[in-house]
Symmetry: C2
């Protein structure tokens, strides 16, 4: 089965941006005064999780393209409007950068941020998966706040 085309780079980017639209809706669904304060079970609030997502997305794609890695750093946004503004900037940057990933870099093994060694595709999946994982946690926070989260299947 080794030679089948599973997904193209453009399809991967489209899939990720669709998830990012959903994540943006989850961020926006929080009452402004709860985004950085509310949590369940002693976990990080959703604003901190969104800052982690912001810290990973564009810097990882830049690193995959260039193989130059900065130290990993989360976003330091402290308000909902800051998070959303940075989210939108990242959306634009990802559209510009992702198509610049050289063809071989998806399968090349690299050490991201000087710490995490894996092939490029695995790194990209890690970031998307991490976003889905934490967004799922945000859904529980929203439910615990009595707010209906955005539908998981609607990525429009």
């Amino acid at each position: 089965m080794s030679d089948a085309l599973v997904i193209t780079p453009q399809q991967f980017l489209t899939h990720w941006q669709a998830h990012r639209r959903l994540s943006r809706r989850a961020i926006a669904a929080f009452p402004e005064d709860q985004l950085f304060t509310f949590s369940v079970g002693g976990m990080r609030p959703f604003g901190a999780l969104a800052n982690e997502m912001l810290g990973m997305a564009v810097p990882t794609v830049r690193g995959i393209i260039t193989d130059k890695w900065d130290t990993y750093a989360e976003s330091t946004a402290t308000t909902q409007s800051d998070v959303l503004a940075q989210w939108d900037t990242s959306t634009t940057l990802l559209e510009e950068l992702f198509p610049q990933i050289p063809a071989n870099r998806f399968q090349d093994v690299m050490t991201a941020f000087g710490q995490w060694k894996m092939p490029g595709y695995d790194l990209l999946l890690y970031i998307v998966d991490n976003e889905i994982h934490h967004r799922g946690q945000g859904y529980v926070y929203l439910r615990a706040l009595g707010i209906e989260p955005p539908p998981f299947y609607d990525r429009s």
Copy 2:
């Protein structure tokens, strides 16, 4: 960037099975009497979410191979040991079935379970993403129960 190899079918299967090992640990981490009863914010308990994952995984791969679709049905497991036994059976079946997916079926558009129309790769991503999403919710339940969830990055 259209002709770059992002991920092979074998790499996709390996990635999914790694997630499924983590999900199995999350299921096993629940106290037996909480798996089908505990939840936060009125959501479904984690046992019900695991039954959804079981209902999707093997039947979807079978459908992608054959384009014959049964009606979608969740697992009806009611105990932790039942869920884990079905999980292990699914693991074995996925190893057998996934390599039988014809090369063209990743990009073919199909109507899964007579309801959800999308390319094969998108359907597979949907199922893995849904598993990650709900497992993330299970992590919050575990934390709310005072239990440390298995590390997200460890898929061994």
